[in-house]
Subunit: 219 residues, 2 copies
DNA sequence: CGGGCCATTGACATCCATCAAAGCGTGTGG
DNA sequence: CCACACGCTTTGATGGATGTCAATGGCCCG
C-alpha cells in the first residue's frame, strides 16, 4: 500500500483486489509461459520463484513473503517468465494489472508506488547478482540468513529465530550452491557458535559474526 | 519509443527529452548514491553498470547499448544504486523521470511502455541469475557472446563479427569469473574453431556450436 | 618512442561439486 | 494409532573446475 492517501483513494485502491486465492503447500500460483493478467500480493505464507533453462536446470530467483508482490516479470511479454510456488499454505490477493494501470493514471501516489515496487525488484536482483558473482559459499549463506531475519523482523517476528520454509536444496539453488554445501556450511556455523540449527529451526546466536562474514573487514 | 502512437502523442513524448549528454570513454553517467532525477536512453556508445559491496568487490550488472534505458534502479530510493560508465565515447538522452510519470498518466501507451521496460529488466536479471547460479564457465561465455551478437544484429550490425568494447576483466566480472578464465575459455573456443579472436575483434565461426554449449543436448 | 594497461599462458592451490551411505522426521496409509 | 516409506539432511571421500600467483608479451595512447 502506498502511504499518504486520501480516504477515497484508499478505497479505490482496495478495489484493485479482485479476489483472493488460497494455495496449499507445493501448489503453484502461476507457471512459466502462462498468460499474465494479474499481480499477486502475498497475504500469508512464503513463496519461491524459479526460472528454468531449456535443458532442465533451474534456479530459484527469490523467496517472497507477506506484503511482497509477485508477477512483475509477466508484464513485458504478457506471459509469465517464471514459476511461483507456495512453500507452505498461503493466501494471495489477485490484482488485475489492467486495473492497476487504469487507476495509477488517476492516482499519482499509486503510480509512484508501482514504479518503486518494480525498481526495488531490480535493485534486489542487482544485489543477488553481486552475491552470485563475487561471494564465497560462507558469505552467500551469511548474507542470505541476515536478509531473511531482517525481513521477518520487519514483519514482527523474532530478530534471531527463523523457521526455514525452504529445503537446503532450494536455498542452494537460490545461492548458486549445492545442497551439500549449504548443509556443510551451516554445520560449520554451528561449530563456530554463530547459529543453532535443529532441522528447519534456526537461531542466530551471533549476528555480528554473520555480518563480518558477509563483509570481511580487510578487503 | 512505444509503438502505435498518434502524431501529437509522439510529439509530446519527444518532449520528454530534456537534454542530451555526451560522455568520453571511462566517464561515468551517474554514480551509486547520486540523487536520481532522470532516466537515460542511449543514443550511441556502450555502457556498463556495476554495483559494489561495502568491502570493495564489484560486480558488473550489465552492458547497455543504443536504445536501452539506464537508471531504473534509482527510482525506489530517489538515489542511484549503481554506477554507469561509458566504455567508449557515447551520447545519451536525459529524460527527467517526473515528466515520464506525468505524461504516462495521460498517454496509456507510454505508461505501458515504461512498465514493459522495467519488467524486461527484471526478466533479464532473472536470466543472469540463472547463468550465474547454474552454468559453467564455458556455458556462461557462450551465452554472453550469443546475447551480444544477437543484440548487435538487432541494431543492424553483423551477425558474426563483434568488437568487444569491454575488457576481459569486465566480462569476467559480469559472468562471475576471473579474467584469466575468460581468456583461457576464449582460447579454447579458438582452438575448437568456434571463434576467431584478435584482441577485441571477435568473429563467430560456428554459432551452432555456441548454442550447443549453452544448451547441452543431453541434460 | 616509451610506458602502462590489457591479454595470454603456465603452475599450483583452493573451493565446491560429485558420489555415496546412513540417520532422522514427517506424514501417510493401513 | 502405529508402522513404514520416502524425502530431507548430514557427513565423508574424492575429483574437477576455477581462482591465484607469476611472468611475459603486445597494443595503444600519450
Amino acid at each position: 500500500m502506498p502511504p499518504g492517501l486520501q480516504p477515497h483513494e484508499l478505497q479505490r485502491i482496495d478495489g484493485l483486489v479482485k479476489t483472493r486465492r488460497k494455495l496449499r503447500r507445493r501448489e503453484t500460483l502461476f507457471h512459466n509461459g502462462e498468460r499474465f493478467t494479474s499481480l499477486y500480493a502475498i497475504r500469508t505464507g512464503v513463496f519461491k520463484t524459479r526460472v528454468a533453462s531449456d535443458d532442465g536446470r533451474d534456479q530459484v530467483t527469490g523467496f517472497q513473503m507477506a506484503g511482497e508482490i509477485m508477477g512483475l516479470d509477466g508484464i513485458v511479454n504478457e506471459h509469465h517468465n517464471c514459476d511461483a510456488v507456495a512453500l507452505e499454505d498461503a493466501e494471495v490477493c489477485v490484482i488485475p494489472f489492467e486495473r492497476v494501470e487504469a487507476l495509477s493514471r488517476e492516482v499519482p501516489a499509486l503510480q509512484r508506488h508501482v514504479h518503486q515496487i518494480m525498481s526495488r525488484e531490480i535493485v534486489r536482483e542487482n544485489g543477488v547478482m553481486l552475491l552470485l558473482g563475487s561471494m564465497r559459499a560462507e558469505e552467500r549463506l551469511a548474507a542470505f540468513l541476515l536478509n531473511l531475519v531482517q525481513r521477518l523482523h520487519a514483519r514482527g517476528f523474532s530478530r534471531s529465530e527463523v523457521v526455514l520454509r525452504m529445503t537446503r536444496g532450494e536455498i542452494g539453488s537460490y545461492l548458486g550452491l549445492k545442497l551439500e554445501t549449504i548443509s556443510r556450511t551451516l554445520s560449520r556455523f554451528v561449530v563456530d557458535g554463530i547459529v543453532e540449527v535443529r532441522h528447519r529451526n534456526l537461531r542466530i546466536l551471533d549476528p555480528q559474526a554473520l555480518q563480518c562474514i558477509v563483509n570481511p573487514p580487510g578487503r
